[in-house]
């Protein structure tokens, strides 16, 4: 182990050291909570898949820890006056892992693939692009149906990942069996549920900044075992350390713990108008939902279940987010108000509520605490624990009253809201519908400045927190733990995290360790 450690330290300092780095295989071993799904950026859905992509596939643009969009494969971009065209300058001298050159044609082919491949899950993310024009070897114009404030954030995620057009054309939908991108590491092998091995790509455009010969991702589902592997030195880094393991990890020698509050949320989604079951007191009367909200002490919930390691929440963004509406802060429990609201709604003696919960430890613990808090106000919550796929199917079909569910979060605020609360939103399982919210959400999509958008979301938030189709509870914190021989790790709130060679150096030593859940589907996936 000490060999490996030395090797890694010198690898990380390699940029400044005068001596040649020792000829030792430098393998960075990262433990993931679960196995990734298919490794095709256009087809993939799991969060852990994205963790792998950060080393495997470069994107058109990237984000900073503050969620600003910065260049990656696109070096600069300008939006036309009317917002219907984006002209991008592309990085020169970039090649894909199979030697295919990266240029404007490749970008056009990638966007076409994301939009037209039958299996593509990226269609809605790129829906605003109507056509592409190659205007030079390294210049491309994206024509849009209308202004789209969310597009650049989409291009900083899977929709913006560039795959080799040659390999993609050859493999079609089977591309994921042998992915070919242009990232700092190239695909070597995958043994399902065992490992995904990537090796250094020598022709990477920023190859000097790669300090490992290979990266191995190992799915280790049990959190205790993940930590034990880190302690024994078999693994260099783990993602999603359980909050309950924090004291042990902090006490351990040679282990560094780092964290970032996620962009996502966890909460309770109500069935407002989805099928017959939407016609119930909880769906029909917002005062009941408000009563429940007032009965919950969110800070206490965070302390009891997560030892305070997560962040209490009452909006789709954590309070640390620039999009958070500061005039609607988290309030403590107010039983009097809760009881008054129940009485006003016609239930002075209390009312029952059935909530479906994913059958894993955390959601159950959270809902048991909520259950106890609600009981004080006279709300009798019964929990129906369901395996996740079943819960999702029932929720989508409207076969539920309330559902404990979350969202892993998006860089752009639109991703945490539009599809959930607009009348035609794709995952509006509440079937909540409010013309004003629709108007505000749609306006925020096309507004050109951040200030304008913020004002629109602030206004929508007032209605959303009054209507409460989604009742927010807390925001998960992504917790990483790694061997202290590794230096230069930066946690990103969206889950992206980047290793830097040394302070002040440009990024991408070992790029990116995104963690956290990238969508509701990733829980348990």
């Amino acid at each position: 182990m000490s060999h490996l450690k030395t090797a890694m330290i010198s690898a990380l300092l390699g940029a400044t050291a005068l001596t040649a780095s020792p000829v030792v295989a430098k393998d960075l071993r990262i433990a993931l909570q679960s196995d990734a799904d298919v490794l095709d950026p256009d087809q993939s859905r799991t969060f852990v898949g994205r963790i792998v992509y950060t080393s495997l596939c470069d994107k058109l643009v990237d984000i900073t820890p503050n969620l600003d969009i910065i260049p990656q494969l696109a070096t600069e971009w300008t939006t036309s006056e009317d917002g219907t065209a984006i002209t991008m300058q592309l990085r020169e001298g970039v090649v894909f892992h199979d030697g295919t050159p990266f240029n404007a044609e490749a970008v056009a082919a990638n966007i076409e693939r994301s939009q037209t491949l039958d299996e593509s899950r990226r269609k809605s993310e790129l829906a605003s692009i109507t056509s592409t024009e190659v205007t030079g070897e390294y210049e491309i114009v994206l024509n849009l149906a209308g202004p789209d404030a969310t597009l650049m954030a989409q291009l900083a995620d899977r929709a913006g990942m560039m795959v080799s057009p040659t390999a993609a054309a050859e493999a079609g939908a089977d591309f994921g069996l042998n992915p070919v991108c242009s990232g700092p590491f190239k695909f070597e092998e995958r043994v399902a549920q065992d490992k995904i091995v990537l090796s250094k790509f020598d022709d990477y455009w920023n190859a000097d900044e790669i300090h490992f010969d290979s990266v191995t991702f190992l799915p280790i589902p049990d959190t205790t075992v993940r930590l034990a592997n880190l302690q024994s030195g078999d693994i260099d880094m783990i993602e999603r350390l359980a909050a309950t393991d924090l004291p042990q990890a902090r006490a351990a020698e040679n282990i560094v713990v780092d964290s970032a509050v996620s962009l996502g949320y966890q909460g309770i989604t109500f069935n407002i108008n989805n099928g017959e079951k939407g016609d119930n007191p909880w769906g029909n009367d917002k005062r009941l939902r408000q009563a429940l909200s007032h009965a919950i002490d969110r800070e206490a919930l965070n302390q009891v279940v997560f030892d305070g390691a997560f962040a209490a929440g009452n909006q789709p963004f954590p309070s640390s987010s620039p999009w958070y509406n500061q005039s609607l802060p988290i309030e403590g429990a107010d039983m009097e108000k809760a009881k008054a609201l129940l009485a006003e709604a016609g239930y002075p003696d209390g009312i029952s509520l059935e909530v479906q919960v994913p059958n894993s430890t955390e959601p159950l613990a959270v809902m048991q605490v909520v259950q106890a808090m609600a009981a004080e106000a006279g709300i009798d919550i019964s929990l129906t624990s369901k395996e996740f796929a079943t819960l999702l199917a029932d929720q989508s079909a409207g076969d539920y009253t309330a559902s404990q569910i979350g969202w892993s979060g998006r860089v752009d605020p639109d991703g945490n809201n539009h599809q959930f609360v607009t009348t035609d939103g794709g995952i509006n399982d509440s079937k909540f519908s409010d013309p004003k919210v629709d108007e505000l959400m749609n306006a925020a999509r096309v507004a050109s400045t951040t200030e304008e958008r913020k004002a629109l979301y602030d206004e929508a938030m007032v209605i959303m927190l009054d209507e409460l189709p989604r009742l927010f509870l807390y925001h998960q914190t992504w917790i990483w733990a790694y061997n202290d021989a590794l230096k230069g790790f930066t946690p990103y709130p969206d889950g992206m995290s980047v290793w830097k060679a040394s302070p002040g150096k440009s990024d991408l030593a070992v790029p990116a360790l995104p963690t956290g859940r990238r969508g509701v589907l990733n829980r348990g996936a």
Partner: protein, 314 residues
């Protein structure tokens, strides 16, 4: 022996067909739509419909079954809905892992279970018997996941003697592979040893009180010969069946142990597949495992033949 085995094989065929139908139907009874898991976060209806067509989920169930079994007979078990990898390839990847784990666990189980069973039968009612019984019961009662985590914490984290978890193929590094598999094999082995010990004990007790054993003793044979040659051989018949079945169970997957030690074997594959509604993978594995069980049973029957000369006359 041949007609005897042939008869058994013929009986096995309808069993396999029934199992395949049962597995197929059971899958479809699972609540939850596999496509919701597959379609992605935004659940684009167009993509949902395309995938439904692609995986024939719109067809009547009997047609789905026939298509599947038809392909299966040609050695094609379909592709994983989750990773797009062919199911056969997945199983070929997992089989050596699972077999290695099963063999190593079985070695632990046999080395501990049978001598302990003999000892406690021969020394019935003595302190040795009680100690052996307590140890056996503990082996049965201690949950694998607990013993596994304790071993990891002690052996890997504290003493740093063995790797905490994972898997190294035998072909890649023989000793490392054995070392990595030692703890999980021990955890599984101790639980099985307990079962084997109890059965060996009761079987030996029955045999030791038989007339021919008394005769053997009366002939003046040494106790060693009486026990190992005369008694044990007869007592072994039920143990062989049990061993074969336990081995079958091991191959079917030691889910918890595989989960704890992150061994990419059959058990983990099938459990993950069930949660992800990865129909093709579940069906493929259950079918292959069922065939494996039947083969192990046939093997046990053949072993009776070898061990028990009386059967040869039949």
């Amino acid at each position: 022996m041949l007609p005897f085995l042939l008869r058994r094989i013929v009986i096995a065929i309808p069993t396999i067909i029934l199992i395949s139908i049962f597995v197929f139907l059971l899958q479809k009874l699972l609540p939850g739509d596999p496509l919701l898991v597959l379609a992605g976060e935004e659940r684009d209806p167009e993509v949902l419909e395309f995938l439904r067509e692609k995986y024939r989920l719109n067809d009547p169930i009997w047609r789905q079954y026939l298509a599947w079994i038809g392909n299966a007979l040609q050695g094609d078990l379909g592709i994983s809905l989750r990773t797009n990898q062919p199911v056969v390839e997945l199983m070929v990847q997992k089989l050596p892992v699972t077999i290695q784990l099963a063999v190593m666990s079985m070695i632990f189980a046999l080395l501990i279970g049978i001598p302990a069973g003999i000892l406690s039968a021969v020394k019935k009612g003595t302190a040795t018997d009680y100690v052996a019984n307590v140890v056996a019961l503990s082996g049965l009662s201690i949950p694998n996941f607990w013993l596994g985590i304790m071993l990891i914490l002690l052996v890997s984290v504290k003493w740093q003697l063995l790797p905490a978890s994972g898997y190294v193929p035998l072909s890649e590094d023989f000793w490392q592979s054995i070392k990595t598999m030692l703890m999980p094999a021990f955890v599984l082995g101790t639980a099985l040893a307990a079962t084997l010990m109890r059965h060996t004990r009761s079987s030996m007790l029955g045999v030791l009180s038989a007339d021919y054993v008394r005769t053997a003793r009366a002939k003046g044979l040494t106790e060693r010969v009486v026990i190992l040659k005369h008694a044990l051989r007869n007592a072994l018949t039920p143990i062989v069946t049990l061993t074969a079945l336990l081995f079958g169970e091991l191959v079917a997957g030691a889910v918890l142990t595989e989960q704890i030690f992150t061994i990419p074997g059959f058990g983990k594959l099938v459990v993950d597949a069930v949660f992800n509604r990865d129909y093709a993978v579940v069906q493929g594995i259950v079918l292959v495992t069922a065939v494996g069980f039947i083969v192990m049973n046939l093997f046990a029957d053949a072993m009776y033949y070898v061990l028990n000369p009386r059967l040869r006359g039949q």
